[in-house]
């Protein structure tokens, strides 16, 4: 520790910082004190994590001028406790992002009661919906990390997920382009990492091979790198599909339900105190994304701290198709150390997507897209496709990556509180790794259950295939005609830009995980996702939601609580 502190002291960057550090027997460093900026809080955390023997870092440093408000939940917990135990489950999963939904769906094949609690009004509302949808091959993960292992395994498992769940997956492959000797050295390192990580098919390209593969690469490239297993998905589609299939197999989803506290009972079971009442559970799986460390603190198991890294993305009009078959990336000119640098890809629906940026921010809830995020993302796109025009941008958004200071995934049974499973630090490539994460957690849980003498049996009625969804826009005119004759509601176009019908909206309203907001309808059907961004169809979607959910128009929200669209009736 003295060496770490000396290092911080001698670093000119940290002149204004006052830091003390301690290390526990199991290699957890705890940092206390203050820094002069948030950037330095994060840098010191990373510095501590890089020391040999350090397993993880709890970072309690405060930053000058940064006040992070913590809400006092005492009163809400008291209210919630009064409601008593409302359900008893084998497993309570906290958080319905890609990790939580993936695990829920994996466990849904067993004869056990699983409940997922999610504070937002829908699944996939946080990091899952706001990432670029890359199913990374795994060559950009550091060899030897859990990330590297799960990334490669997850990528491989995606075909099975796709086949069973019916979301769009395009295996486009990824090409990285080098313009300088330095770029070439960078790519060679990635290549060697790819080999070390057992990434299938990854190889260096000569200039000629590169231009044969992608003739429209601009400028004078020196060479490149290809990773053929790269895929792209619409990430929210995957998450919704997992949740729906899990629910079809009996998993219960409690949406708009915030977890407030967890109590470990004398018999080793848990009482998860939610705003709707107490859930009694044998196991708790913490998939709470950026808030996972706070959930772990509820059972006094604090051995890592998450820091929020914002990523901004821009989406272009489908009309702009671009010249490439692969997801593309030139080596970034400026790059955050922990980002893969972002790039250019086409989503399965055909929109060009650029980004994401990578900015460390103190406020875990701040999903504000800044000009600097756009400029970074746009530059990533322009560097490989100079004709890209900002006037064709149809949407911009930012998401928060939940990163720990080791910059690796944390997936393990708690060493302190038996029955509490950590699934934390699931930042990129969390989406690509999701099937492997689910598999790993299933293994941890099953092993533990069997060790305690419980038999874990697969249900006879388990259905791994999700009910297929009608997608009017993808049918031929003849098929569309036949469909409308079956159900006239498919003949009523609600979203003009994406050609989404009332029939499709009614279908998803009968899903086992009912969407109740305009954004939830958008993620399930694409209504409002096109170039006019819901300008025309939003009133129609509000009307359908109000009618089908038997609510007044003023009760229909864009997203969760407080995101009302209409304030009151006019005169």
């Amino acid at each position: 520790m003295q060496e770490l502190l000396a290092n911080i002291k001698s670093d000119a960057r940290f002149e204004q910082c006052s830091v003390s550090a301690s290390i526990s027997e199991d290699g957890i460093v705890t940092l206390e004190g203050s820094a002069d900026s948030w950037r330095h809080v994060v840098d010191i955390g990373h510095l501590a994590a890089s020391f040999p023997g350090v397993v993880n870092v709890v970072n309690h440093l405060s930053a000058e001028g940064v006040r992070i408000e913590k809400s006092d939940n005492t009163q809400r917990i008291r209210e919630a406790r009064k409601r008593g135990v409302i359900a008893s489950a084998d497993v309570v999963i906290v958080g319905a992002g890609i990790s939580g939904c993936g695990i829920a769906r994996e466990l849904s094949k067993y004869d056990m009661r699983v409940i997922v609690v999610e504070r937002n009004a829908d699944v996939s509302e946080e990091a899952t919906k706001a990432n670029n949808g890359d199913i990374h091959p795994g060559h950009k993960a550091k060899p030897g990390t859990l990330k590297a292992k799960l990334n490669v395994r997850g990528n491989e498992l995606y075909d099975k997920w796709q086949e069973e769940l019916g979301f769009e997956l395009v295996r486009c492959g990824q090409v990285n382009v080098a313009y300088s000797e330095e770029d070439m050295r960078g790519l060679e390192k990635i290549y060697h990492d790819g080999i070390a990580n057992d990434v299938p098919g990854v190889r260096m390209l000569t200039k000629e091979e590169l231009l044969k593969m992608e003739p429209e690469v601009p400028g004078d490239p020196m060479g490149g790198l290809v990773a053929p297993t790269m895929g792209v998905v619409e990430p929210f589609q995957v998450c919704v599909a997992l949740a729906e299939n899990a629910a079809e197999n009996g998993v219960e989803f409690m949406l708009s339900t915030e977890l407030l506290d967890i109590q470990v009972m004398e018999d080793g079971r848990f009482q998860a105190v939610t705003e709707k009442g107490i859930l009694d559970a044998a196991y708790i799986i913490d998939c709470a994304g950026i808030h996972a460390d706070e959930v772990a603190q509820m059972v006094n198991d604090e051995f890592y701290t998450l820091h929020a890294r914002r990523g901004g993305i821009a989406i272009f009009d489908k009309r702009v198709t671009g010249p490439y078959h692969h997801a593309m990336s030139a080596m970034p000119r400026k790059k955050d150390a922990e980002s893969k640098g972002g790039g250019y890809a086409r989503t399965p629906e055909g929109n060009i997507l650029v980004g994401p940026s990578a900015v460390e921010i103190p406020d875990k809830e701040d999903k504000s897209m800044e000009e600097s995020d756009f400029d970074y993302a746009y530059d990533r796109g322009k560097s490989i496709y100079p004709e890209l025009d900002r006037r064709d941008v149809i949407a911009m958004y930012a998401g928060i990556r939940p990163a720990d200071y080791k910059e690796d995934f944390i997936i393990q049974m708690s060493g302190k509180v038996h029955g509490f499973i950590h699934v934390a630090g699931i930042q990129s490539p969390g989406l690509a790794s999701a099937p492997a994460i689910a598999e790993m957690v299933e293994g941890i849980l099953k092993e533990d259950m069997e060790a305690s003498g419980r038999t874990v049996s697969v249900r006879e009625d388990y259905k791994p295939k999700r009910r297929p969804q009608v997608q009017f826009r993808r049918l031929s005119h003849e098929e569309q005609d036949a469909l409308i004759r079956e159900n006239p509601k498919y003949g009523h176009i609600i979203c003009r830009c994406e050609q989404i019908t009332e029939g499709e909206i009614l279908d998803v309203l009968h899903s086992p995980v009912v969407p109740t907001t305009v954004d939830a309808i958008k993620r399930r059907t694409r209504a409002g996702m096109g170039r006019c961004q819901g300008g025309f169809c939003q009133p129609r979607v509000v009307e359908i939601l109000a009618r089908e959910l038997d609510k007044d128009w003023t009760q229909i929200n864009l997203k969760g609580r407080g995101a009302y669209i209409l304030e009151r009736r006019s005169r």
């Binding site: 009309r319 809830e365 701040d366 999903k367 504000s368 897209m369 800044e370 000009e371 756009f374 900002r390 006037r391 941008v393 149809i394 949407a395 911009m396 958004y397 005119h477 003849e478 569309q480 005609d481 036949a482 409308i484 004759r485 006239p488 509601k489 003949g491 009523h492 176009i493 003009r496 830009c497 050609q499 170039r531 006019c532 961004q533 300008g535 025309f536 939003q538 009133p539 009307e543 128009w553 003023t554 929200n557 864009l558 997203k559 969760g560 609580r561 407080g562 995101a563 009302y564 669209i565 209409l566 304030e567 009151r568 009736r569 006019s570 005169r571």
Partner: protein, 429 residues
């Protein structure tokens, strides 16, 4: 799939489409179908409860609905087929239209001529790069108008309006009359975007401030909008650091411009003018595909509905002539003519039509144009080489107000044309 043969299909039952159908029937075109996606005809006019429509055409002040009604009566008096509640999905280059509705499923129209009249859509926050969080409480002016006037709901209590185009100004007044507070209207340009009469009647009469050279740079809030940051901009429309001001509000209304809705046109392979974002047209409003015409805001964004109706009629007359030539076995469309280009000259942002068939003009021809910047005492002229085909003086011009230059029948077009706006020389006659 039900297949229907028609002489003319008009897509869109707003002001351009209605005028086109009425004129097409007056011209004697046989089987005419009007395809409208909504339940009722009139397009966006139906949500315009304010008056000020029809001053040119009817010499009186009408509401949007009243103006539409006058045309709907004309159309309903004809034998044109009104196919409402029907959405066009695709137009092919050989003039087939695929459209759907709930009762008939997929319809295939085989057309001899088509008039595109799909209108325009509004630009969104992303197209004007308003950064910040994605909350509820950020709506386009058209959506606000729809919620208030058609659905009977108010989308907030205190609004900031970005954009001083007419719809922004009209909504400032409307929201005030509905008991909402309008904090102000912000305009990135140094001059207002809307008509002068609307500045007076919608803002000044209600003490709503207009802030020029100022824009909204950021939206704040987690779930619902809680405020916006505005900033002054420099001459390149870039925000000036240090001029930011936070405004507390729960609604941001965007009146930041309109874009012609040409996804169907692009699908058919029609040439689009990057300037207007509408099809390149000739003096009959025919697009780059023989027999496919376009009218109204799908061609370029007009401000006055009177002009929109006029272009519907021009396109319908063009379609009638095209069908007549075709029937008589004459050469028609592009193969029958050589075309001369019309270019936007000094002071002109864009001009339509973009091309004219060479030869003697058999009837008066209108050029519609927008100037680049506000000016006073200018001369608007249409030149062909050294020859001036039309010329008129304008006391005051500004980009929001579309100008019309009319060249008389009988002029012979044998060279490219230039339309320009120059400062008046004092002794010029």
């Amino acid at each position: 799939m039900k297949t229907i043969q028609v002489d003319l299909a008009v897509i869109g039952g707003g002001p351009a489409g209605l005028a086109a159908v009425a004129e097409a029937k007056r011209q004697g075109i046989g089987r005419v179908v009007l395809i409208e996606r909504d339940l009722e005809l009139g397009g966006i006019l139906q949500q315009c409860v304010h008056d000020g429509f029809g001053l040119h055409r009817f010499q009186k002040r009408m509401s949007g609905g009243q103006y539409a009604e006058a045309f709907i009566r004309d159309v309903e008096a004809t034998d044109a087929c009104i196919q409402d509640n029907t959405m066009v999905l695709e137009i092919t280059p050989d003039k087939k239209i695929y459209a759907v509705n709930e009762t008939e499923g997929m319809l295939l129209y085989e057309c001899r001529a088509i008039i595109l009249a799909m209108g325009c859509r509004e630009r969104t926050r992303n197209q004007v790069f308003i950064y910040g969080s994605r909350t509820s409480g950020v709506l386009t002016a058209g959506a606000v108008q729809r919620y208030i006037n058609m659905e009977g709901y108010l989308p907030g209590r205190k609004a900031v309006i970005l954009g001083s185009g007419d719809i922004g100004l009209i909504m400032a007044r409307r929201m005030t009359l509905e008991g909402m507070e309008v904090e102000g209207v912000y305009e990135v340009m140094s001059s207002p975007g809307g008509l002068t009469r609307n500045i007076v009647q919608c803002l000044e009469d209600y003490d709503i401030p207009l802030h020029l050279s100022t824009t909204v740079v950021k939206a704040h809030g987690r779930e619902r909008l809680t405020g916006v940051t505005v900033a002054k901009v420099d001459e390149n429309r870039r925000p000036i650091p240090g001029t930011e001001r936070y405004i507390d509000c729960d609604l941001l209304v965007l009146a930041v411009g309109l874009i012609p809705e040409n996804e169907l046109s692009r699908g058919a392979g029609i040439e689009i003018d990057p300037r207007t974002q509408g099809p390149v047209i000739d003096q009959n409003f025919m697009t780059s595909i023989d027999g496919i015409f376009a009218a109204g805001n799908v061609v370029a964004v007009f401000d006055l509905v009177d002009y929109v109706s006029e272009t519907g009629e021009i396109a319908a007359r063009g379609a009638a002539r095209y069908l007549k030539e075709q029937k008589e076995g004459n050469k028609e469309g592009h193969s029958a003519h050589t075309y001369k280009n019309v270019t936007a000259g000094e002071g002109v942002n864009f001009v339509i039509p973009q091309k004219v068939a060479a030869g003697e003009l058999t009837q008066d021809m209108a050029f519609y144009l927008r100037v680049k910047k506000p000016d006073e005492r200018v001369v608007l002229s249409c030149r062909m080489g050294d020859e001036t085909l039309a010329k008129k003086k304008e006391r005051f011009v500004a980009p929001p107000e579309m100008l019309v230059s009319r060249v008389q029948a009988g002029c012979c077009v044998d060279n490219d044309l230039t339309v320009e706006v120059r400062k008046e020389v004092p002794h010029e006659r």
